[in-house]
């Protein structure tokens, strides 16, 4: 879809719109009304007036009878705690029967006690869905009819939900950000207001959303208290562990090199960091950090659970032994296949006629390597089962660690393929390099290192002769080397692809924000992408009624927002550059090593 490109369409019809006789309409006043208050008894409406948006966010209804002074005191207290300018916005009358003419006058009088501009009067008659709503403006100069929109909202959902993308700096920024976030902010910050219980015997009776799960929250509170010492212990252990890891002893050259090449170590370090994040007793500053902690916790939990499941499967029925028994023959078999392949290459592979001498030399060289390899494997074979048994224990640290160990084992067992690949690639690279520079000589050019460009240059006859001779020799030897290079590169690519798949799986487990996904599934309103409105039934003469619902974030959005960072970097080079590298004979590494190299 090529819709990104756009251009104003300055057509005649667009322009003529401006000619329309514009109706003089007044500002529209929006009243956000909590749907839980729709059956409340008559009283006064308290909430926040957002003047720049001309909208009123109603938070609760105070019932009759009350003493105005006490209401004012109460509001002052709420304002102090929540830092939201809560005030009395208007009156609410819910007349079950068609009576109480005198009440309306009384309600108007209330406006003089709690002076607020404008004074909103909402009245509901019987069970009618259509409420009448009027605005009183005493001090305004132009008493014009204002249009009113009634927007119902679910107080609980709006309070608990978090708008995405989340604002970085809370507080003053929220005011000027956007209309919706101001409303969400207002409701969320007046949480204190909702804490007062319906059955409290206070001087003021309020109707608003009531939280039911007080008992559950007590249990949560207890758990929180109990987890503090646990976390402290964990932190201590972790700091000890990371201290050991950081000790000078492990920093010497061969060891540090080895650590960086083994993906198991990387994964363990990564998990260590995660544990540190979880157990740190610093309070999460904002929603994002909180979610991050929860996500890490859940992913760690699931990882370990899967690991233990794997372990319980492995240690039953002597599966380890079977595995060890099959591993050695497989390695042997691979080596034999390679030997056959080399024999084939040393003959006339696929009917190609190779340079016999070079072919024999290369083939013998590789055959000797395989011979070395086989003897090494046989030396190792008595200990394989024991090694596997101990390695299998590491699965209790998590499935990801087990997978990383698997990847490392594959790496170690295919070390000969790696060696072959490196030899082949180096040889091939050298030839290509030589050929390209001799080709330049051939054309009377040379590479200027200082200026990074190709200059023209006049060579002597001797130089040209030698160069041409070398060029021909290299060119005719190229196919032999290229064939060896091609075969071993394909083998290497196979291993790299298998390892890559394992790492992809590890990354998936590491980075999937499981907690957020579960939250999205069960409590979709908690993660809001925005809101949506539904137009409710209309009646002439009554204000427009809208229902504000929360538009949950899509699953893709959840994953994108809360994805946990992984340690392994994917190769940044594209397919084209990979192919170019393969063609030029530069070494390609499995994905993780690539990242190490760049760091």
């Amino acid at each position: 879809m090529d819709l990104k490109d756009f251009r104003h369409l300055m057509n005649r019809d667009c322009m003529s719109i401006g000619v329309h006789p514009c109706r003089v309409t007044a500002m529209v006043l929006k009243v956000f009304f909590p749907s839980c208050c729709s059956s409340a008894d008559s009283g006064i409406l308290i909430g926040r007036w957002i003047s720049e948006q001309n909208s009123a966010v109603i938070l609760a209804v105070v019932h009759f009878p009350f003493i105005p002074v006490q209401v004012k005191q109460y509001l002052g207290e709420v304002q102090r705690v929540t830092k939201v300018s809560v005030s009395v916005l208007g009156s609410w009358s819910n007349s079950k029967q068609e009576k109480e003419e005198s009440l309306s006058e009384f309600l108007e009088d209330l406006g003089t006690i709690f002076c607020h501009e404008p004074w909103i009067q909402i009245s509901k008659e019987g069970d009618s869905k259509f409420w009448s709503c009027s605005i009183l403006q005493k001090h305004s100069k132009n008493p014009q009819e204002e249009e009113i929109i009634l927007v119902y909202y679910d107080q609980r959902k709006v309070m608990l939900s978090h708008l995405h993308p989340p604002l970085d700096t809370a507080g003053q920024r929220a005011e000027d950000a956007s209309k919706l976030s101001a409303i969400f902010d207002t409701v969320a910050r007046s949480q204190v207001l909702f804490m007062t219980d319906r059955y409290d015997e206070g001087p003021i009776k309020l109707t608003h959303w009531q939280s039911d799960g007080v008992e559950a929250s007590i249990i949560v509170e207890l758990l929180k208290q109990a987890s503090v010492p646990g976390c402290m212990l964990l932190t201590f252990l972790l700091s000890l562990l990371s201290g050991i890891c950081r000790s000078r002893l492990l920093k010497f050259w061969p060891l540090s090199f080895l650590w960086s090449k083994l993906s198991t170590c990387e994964q363990l370090g990564h998990r260590l960091q995660h544990l540190q994040v979880i157990s740190s007793n610093k309070k999460a500053q904002n929603q994002n950090q909180l979610m991050r902690k929860a996500n890490i916790f859940v992913s760690l939990l699931i990882d370990v659970a899967l690991g233990i499941l794997l372990m319980s499967w492995l240690y039953r029925k002597n599966r380890i032994g079977h595995l060890a028994d099959t591993l050695i023959p497989v390695a042997d078999h691979v080596a034999e296949e390679l030997q056959d392949l080399l024999q084939w290459l040393m003959g006339a592979p696929a009917g190609l006629k190779m340079n016999r001498a070079l072919d024999q030399v290369l083939g013998r060289f590789f055959l000797y390597h395989i011979h070395l390899w086989i003897s090494y494997i046989h030396l190792l074979s008595p200990f394989i089962e024991m090694i596997l048994w101990y390695v299998g224990l590491s699965a209790c640290l998590g499935l990801t660690v087990a997978l990383c160990i698997l990847s490392d084992i594959i790496e170690l067992l295919t070390f000969h393929i790696y060696c072959f690949y490196v030899y082949g690639a180096r040889l091939y690279c050298l030839k290509i390099y030589g050929l390209s520079s001799l080709w330049r000589l051939f054309r009377g050019k040379k590479w200027n290192v200082l200026r990074q460009r190709v200059d023209s240059c006049s060579y002597d006859l001797d130089q040209l002769f030698i160069g041409t001779l070398l060029f021909t020799i290299l060119l005719f030897l190229l196919p032999t080397t290229a064939l060896y290079y091609l075969v071993f590169t394909l083998l290497r690519l196979l291993v790299v692809i298998v390892q890559g798949l394992i790492h992809l799986l590890v990354d998936l487990i590491d980075s999937l924000p499981l907690y957020s996904l579960i939250l999205r599934l069960c409590r979709s309103y908690r993660l809001a992408a925005g809101v949506k409105f539904r137009v409710l039934e209309q009646q002439d003469g009554k204000p427009l009624r809208l229902l504000m619902q929360i538009n949950p974030l899509s699953y893709g959005g959840v994953v994108q927002t809360y994805r946990l960072p992984t340690y392994s970097c994917y190769p940044r080079d594209s397919w084209a550059s990979l192919c170019k590298k393969l063609f030029l004979g530069e070494l390609i590494y499995p994905w993780k090593h690539k990242g190490d190299k760049q760091n």
Partner: protein, 478 residues
């Protein structure tokens, strides 16, 4: 205003002459070329300037080209010139790859929605232009082609291109060349009837190229070269001239503007003879910077090996420089003899020419830049080009487009037995594809584009003076 009346305007334009109370018919012209802004060059500015002048004369003009990077879709340029940047793959040298068929759906859609009456293709290097000609003929629209370049006859690539050009032009209504040499060349290459070939030279905007002698440094002599640094422009000749003249005249300076693969040749010359302070390579120039480079020099040197119409020497002469140029292609026609020194395309002849110019400069016999400018500015103007092009359009509008049968006959008799038959077969295939497209999306459900230019354009000049005034003018309408 009802949408119907907005759509009514182009529909009426299609109904033929006499719509504006007896005045000349307004054409709806579709310029097709691979080369257009933001690419820079002679063809590009030709298409742009011609379109602007035609819009000024009350025609509706749109430009179709291929996408340049992120610039794709529909854009509007000054005075509502609508440009379609089509998402076609670029193959080589900004020219699109062609299969002769794949561009038909989009081009047909554009021709139908804009109610195009004349398709004007530019440049024989542009594959898209040839495609558009082919499709326009299949759809029964009138076609005009402008050739901007000269070709040889000898090498294999020229033989092939000439054959294709023969096929492409044998049933085109009219062909425009930029110089008489170019006309001769084109008539020979494409085996055309010379009567349907007109010569309309290129033009320069003289107000953009005014002399400014104060910018010159009169203690030295500066030779300016502004061209793309490619083989065709004779850069190898230039690399021979520079050391020879620099040795002879110590006060001589060279100023070279332009970019290209041959830049390395000049750099090497500069390094070998240590002329870093005397030969300045400016690199690629924006069009608006060209004048500022030109006015710094005394002599303009053009070393082209082939050229249909050299705009660069007109621009240089308009800036008041003495022009030294090779005698190739249409160059001798461009400027009168007192303004130009013509040489053979060899190092020796060009050096002689330059020495003659330097001698004239030293003796002060050269005319002043102002007088040269005043003389040149009357020669070539875009308004004149547009007027002459309009006459071609008027003539073409009265002609009939060959029906399918005659077109096939023409192809087979005109282009040789093998090529003719192949392309006749392609023409039939193209027609079948068009019939299929017409069945898939009939012309009736293609929305007519809102007209931006032309006599009843939505983007009239007043729009730019502000909306307020415009609304007032619209009032009686609505």
């Amino acid at each position: 205003m009802a949408p119907g009346s907005a759509q009514g305007a182009p529909a009426a334009g299609r109904s033929g002459p006499g719509m504006d109370g007896g005045g000349p018919a307004a054409h709806i012209v579709c310029m097709v070329s691979d080369f257009f802004y933001p690419n820079m060059g002679g063809v590009e500015s030709h298409v742009y300037q011609l379109s602007q002048c035609l819009i000024e004369r009350g025609h509706k003009v749109l430009v179709v080209t291929h996408a340049y990077g992120h610039r794709k879709g529909v854009r509007y340029l000054t005075s509502g010139l609508k440009v379609y940047y089509l998402p076609l793959k670029v193959m080589y040298n900004q020219s699109t790859a062609t299969t002769l068929f794949h561009s038909l759906p989009l081009l047909r859609y554009i021709f139908v929605r804009e109610r195009v009456t004349i398709v004007h293709a530019h440049s024989s290097f542009s594959a898209m232009a040839h495609d558009a000609l082919f499709h326009a003929k299949t759809m029964g629209l009138r076609t005009v082609f402008t050739d901007h370049s000269l070709f040889g006859f000898a090498d294999v690539s020229s033989v092939l291109t000439n054959k294709l050009l023969t096929v492409s032009l044998c049933d085109t209504n009219h062909i425009i060349c930029v110089s008489y040499t170019s006309k001769e060349n084109t008539v020979l290459r494409a085996a055309l009837d010379p009567r349907i070939v007109s010569v309309i030279p290129n033009a320069v905007d003289p107000t953009d190229f005014t002399p400014d002698p104060s910018r010159r440094d009169d203690s030295t002599i500066t030779i300016v070269v502004v061209s793309r640094l490619v083989y065709r422009k004779g850069i190898d000749l230039l690399s021979g001239i520079i050391p020879e003249l620099c040795q002879k005249y110590p006060e001589l300076h060279f100023l070279v503007g332009g970019e290209g693969p041959k830049r390395i040749v000049l750099e090497e010359v500069r390094e070998r003879y240590q002329l870093h302070d005397r030969v300045r390579l400016l690199g690629g120039l924006e069009h608006q910077d060209v004048r500022n480079v030109l006015v710094q020099g005394h002599i303009f040197l053009n070393t082209s090996l082939t050229e249909a119409f050299c705009m660069a020497i007109v621009e240089a002469a308009s800036c008041g420089l003495q022009v030294v140029s090779t005698r190739v292609g249409g160059i001798p026609e461009v400027l009168p003899e007192n303004l130009i020194i013509l040489c053979e395309p060899s190092v020796k002849s060009l050096c002689d020419g330059l020495e003659k110019a330097i001698a004239q400069l030293r003796s002060g016999t050269l005319p002043s830049p102002e007088t040269v400018h005043n003389e040149v500015k009357t020669f070539y103007t875009w308004r004149n080009v547009a007027e002459r092009t309009e006459k071609v359009y008027d003539r073409v509008a009265d002609e009939v487009v060959l029906p399918m049968k005659e077109r096939l006959d023409r192809l087979m008799t005109h282009c040789g037995p093998v090529t003719g038959c192949i392309f006749a077969f392609f023409a039939v295939l193209n027609f079948l594809l068009l019939t299929f497209l017409r069945w898939m999306t009939p012309d009736s459900i293609i929305d007519v584009a809102i007209d931006a230019t032309g006599p009843k354009g939505a983007w009239t000049k007043q729009y730019f003076f502000g909306k307020k005034r415009r609304v007032k003018e619209e009032l009686p309408n609505s």
